[in-house]
């Protein structure tokens, strides 16, 4: 056997081993992603197919959402919207714009920098595995997951009655979108020192893509072509069907991936372009206090969710005038947003507040989940071996999370109020907007209480809190458009708020919900005081 063939065989062996390892690490999360994404896509498609079952209904929808440019900025411009596939693409557009890039980012980040940061990669690279193999394996596994998801999309759409060619092109354009972000995250994993950095910079890139597409669509310029989200849209699966447009994201993803591989094979293990700097050598008085430390722990997440809330309300506010014009021109649009039969401005605020409630509830669950991380990583044990009691520790966190929630709700509502007031020129809407935002607090707190109860009783089952959240988000985002049965809509606490300011705030329901939230919190606290720590 020649030396060269030995090397080739060795290389193949290393990559094979690495593929099996990455496959095993990713199996669970990849399956969850594939299942969740296909289920929400097929669920949306099937409901739309049932709801818009005649060409006339589809036409009404199409004219509704294309009047004005507001929705175009949010969901993207759907070419060929006057078809079943077009309606699906439009309805799924908002979720798809975030979920598919996230799929690519998480698949790539989990298997690369996270493994390197934890030191596990060092162990593997000491074996018969080349330096670039982990990145290559991560990209291959990510690609396989993305292709499978796209195939499930295509089959699901075809079953719902969407033409095969359009289904396939649409599914592939979404897959290519995820692929670009997988390549980007793989590259960022080579540049930043920690997995956290990979997520942060990837999400910033996603926000920029989203903004670029929005600007491009509203101004009707070629700026759209600068955004990966624009590339997916320009494939026009239900319009002109530009198959060649798929080559742009595929080429971009390959280029990013190749750059990542090149860096991976050249740089030192554990090195990074962006490194941490020195910090203060003493903690200030605030950090030494339980509440101060809790504020420090929750601050990044609070700012992140606040940015999300402000982005949403700012955009809705800025586009309010156009959206109002569109709704006056076409009542079917209001119907699609679930805000028919009301003052258009109230309808807009109500829809935005519901979306904001979903963001705020996500923050609360994530923040309680942070406690679980603190415990699993052993920091809670260190804290509780001190003079702070369990009740005081948990109460400090609960208080800080409540403060964060108020900041997110009030801050975002304020932005909505100001953004709608600026073009109109009066601030009469400000008070009702803030009031509507606050009215959702009990619904958000129920989710927080649920999260605390699960954390207190069985931290291992924390996924249940997120499952409850996913149900609530699904009902809030897609429920009105799809006209779910009432009992399903009633499952979400947000339903019982009364849809202010369109409907009256249901004070009694709010009191009941607050009581439930308090009971859940008390239960969680009592359970937390009784159980052993740490519990993974």
């Amino acid at each position: 056997m020649s030396v060269r063939s030995l090397t080739v065989q060795d290389g193949a062996h290393g990559l094979g081993t690495m593929l099996r390892i990455v496959g095993r690490i990713q199996r669970r999360s990849a399956l969850i992603w594939m299942f969740t994404l296909s289920a929400s896509m097929v669920g949306t498609a099937a409901s739309i197919a049932a709801l818009y079952d005649t060409a006339a209904k589809i036409h009404t929808y199409a004219t509704a959402v294309t009047t004005g440019k507001a929705l175009v900025a949010i969901n993207g411009k759907v070419e060929g919207i006057d078809s079943l596939g077009g309606v699906i693409q439009d309805e799924f557009g908002f979720l798809a714009a975030f979920l598919l890039p996230l799929l690519g980012i998480s698949l790539a980040a989990r298997a690369t920098r996270r493994e390197e940061e934890s030191g596990r990669l060092e162990l593997l690279l000491a074996g018969r595995i080349a330096r670039r193999d982990p990145t290559l394996a991560a990209l291959l596994v990510a690609t396989a997951t993305i292709v499978t998801t796209a195939m499930l999309f295509a089959v699901g759409l075809a079953i719902c009655g969407v033409p095969l060619a359009g289904s396939l092109l649409y599914a592939l354009s979404l897959g290519a979108l995820a692929f670009v972000f997988a390549g980007l995250a793989a590259l960022l994993a080579q540049l930043t020192l920690h997995a956290r950095g990979v997520y942060t910079w990837s999400l910033i890139a996603l926000a920029v893509s989203y903004a670029l597409r929005g600007v491009g669509e509203v101004t009707n310029t070629s700026i759209t072509w600068l955004s990966p989200l624009g590339w997916a849209e320009k494939a026009a699966p239900f319009g002109d069907q530009r198959w060649w447009a798929l080559t742009i994201p595929v080429a971009a993803g390959l280029a990013l991936g190749a750059a990542a591989l090149r860096l991976a094979s050249r740089r030192d293990l554990g090195s990074a372009l962006v490194r941490g700097r020195a910090g203060p050598d003493r903690a200030n008085a605030r950090l030494r206090n339980p509440i101060g430390l809790a504020i420090w722990i929750h601050r990044p997440a609070t700012l992140g969710w606040l940015a999300g809330g402000v982005l949403l309300t700012g955009m809705m506010g800025a586009l309010s005038q156009q959206l109002l014009d569109a709704m006056t021109g076409n009542p079917a649009l209001a119907d699609a947003l679930g805000i028919a039969n009301s003052r258009p401005i109230d309808g807009l605020v109500a829809a935005t507040q519901l979306y904001l409630a979903v963001i705020a509830a996500g923050y609360v669950i994530g923040a309680i989940g942070t406690l679980r991380t603190e415990e699993a990583e052993g920091r809670l044990e260190a804290r509780l071996s001190g003079t702070v009691s369990r009740a005081r520790l948990l109460a400090s966190h609960a208080l800080v999370v409540l403060g964060g929630l108020m900041t997110i709700v009030l801050g975002s509502s304020l932005v909505l109020g100001l953004a709608t007031a600026l073009p109109v020129g009066d601030t009469a809407e400000l008070a009702p907007i803030l009031k509507s935002g606050l009215a959702y607090l009990p619904a958000e707190l129920i989710l927080g209480g649920l999260a605390l109860a699960v954390y207190g009783l069985r931290p291992r089952l924390f996924g249940a809190a997120w499952a409850g959240y996913a149900g609530m988000a699904f009902i809030a985002f897609i429920g009105p458009g799809l006209k779910f049965r009432q009992w399903i809509v009633d499952l979400s606490p947000t339903t019982h708020v009364g849809n202010p300011p369109v409907g009256a705030i249901q004070s009694e329901a709010l009191i009941v919900m607050t009581a439930v939230a308090v009971a859940l919190t008390a239960g969680g606290l009592a359970a937390f005081r009784r159980r052993g720590i740490p519990q993974g």
């Binding site: 910090g279 950090l287 030494r288 044990e381 260190a382 509780l384 071996s385 001190g386 003079t387 720590i533």
Partner: protein, 316 residues
């Protein structure tokens, strides 16, 4: 005798169908350094968590400073500092910030000692924890505990990840704290460390205390290993009182004898060796390692039982 700082009797702790503790007894007296020995998984960390009131024992009795740690944890914690087995710090804080946060967590921190320890352990307090090596993270937790105004230090395998120089610094610091009157419970599986520091030792196995006492107590019941090279054949050694495991080998012009001896009969045997004209002689008292392994029912060659460094000391 004064009340013990820690007193545990018949502790059991069951997780599902695993008995992590199975009738554990432990008494730590004020002012002593108590070595808490056992292999991985013997229940050392679980015991410490029960002592801290982080976990509730399934049955048995536990007292910390005469109080119940499960009911009265935070008040009792004011008087102690704890270093967990897996040191966990906040990755986004600097080492110095973590020191202060941990210091605030404990009853309070002695500023002068903090400054001194940061220097002695050569810690850069301006670096973020996520950029620290494992050893540096360990140093942060150790400094926080050693600088704390505490009467009791609970240390769970405190030197894992430290280099030998820092291990020396650690031992020196523990001796200083002991001189200040601080009680220390030192959980470890490193014999040399416990041997160097501990006044008393408890060895546990599968959640149960197998033996407890001072090192001298424990040694009294075990055998000393002797390796002698003599010019003549030492006569009568095989049948001498207290001798066991006798092995003899004739080298060119010398006789190489190895055996173990009951400490009470050491004198007589040395006399016989002397009569045969000693060329070299190595007498190795039982190391903690030997004691430990004996309690785990291992049978060992007399030479293997002694650790390398203590043998060197004896032959010097």
């Amino acid at each position: 005798m004064s009340t013990p700082v820690i007193h545990a009797e018949g502790l059991t702790k069951v997780f599902g169908n695993v008995r992590a503790l199975d009738g554990l007894d432990l008494t730590v007296r004020p002012g002593e350094v108590h070595g808490f020995l056992g292999p991985n998984g013997a229940g050392k960390s679980t015991t410490l968590r029960v002592l801290l009131g982080l976990m509730k024992a399934t049955s048995g009795h536990v007292e910390l400073f005469g109080g119940d740690p499960w009911r009265d944890g935070p008040r009792l914690h004011r008087r102690l500092a704890y270093v967990a087995g897996d040191v966990a710090l906040w990755p986004g804080l600097t080492g110095g910030q973590c020191l202060d946060v941990l210091g605030a967590t404990h009853g309070g921190i002695d500023e002068r000692r903090r400054l001194d320890l940061v220097g002695r352990f050569e810690l850069d307090p301006t670096k973020r924890v996520r950029d620290y090596s494992k050893g540096n993270r360990q140093k942060v937790a150790l400094i926080a505990a050693l600088a704390a105004d505490a009467e009791l230090l609970l240390l769970d395998e405190p030197t894992s990840g430290l280099d030998p120089l820092m291990e020396q610094a650690f031992q020196q610091c523990v001796r200083e704290r002991r001189a200040d009157g601080v009680t220390v419970l030192l959980s470890s599986h490193i014999m040399a460390e416990v041997e160097a520091l501990a006044d008393r030792v408890s060895i546990i196995r599968r959640g149960r205390t197998v033996i407890s006492g001072t090192l001298a107590d424990l040694r009294r019941h075990t055998r000393t290993a002797v390796h002698a090279v003599t010019v003549a054949d030492p006569c009568g050694l095989v049948d001498a009182e207290g001798v066991a495991d006798y092995q003899r080998e004739r080298l060119d012009e010398q006789v190489d004898s190895r055996f173990t001896i009951d400490p009470a009969h050491l004198d007589g045997v040395i006399g016989r060796l002397h009569a045969a004209s000693i060329h070299t002689l190595t007498v190795t008292p039982p190391s903690l390692g030997t004691l430990f392994l004996q309690n785990y029912g291992e049978t060992l060659d007399p030479d293997e039982g002694a650790s390398n460094d203590s043998r060197e000391e004896a032959s010097r």
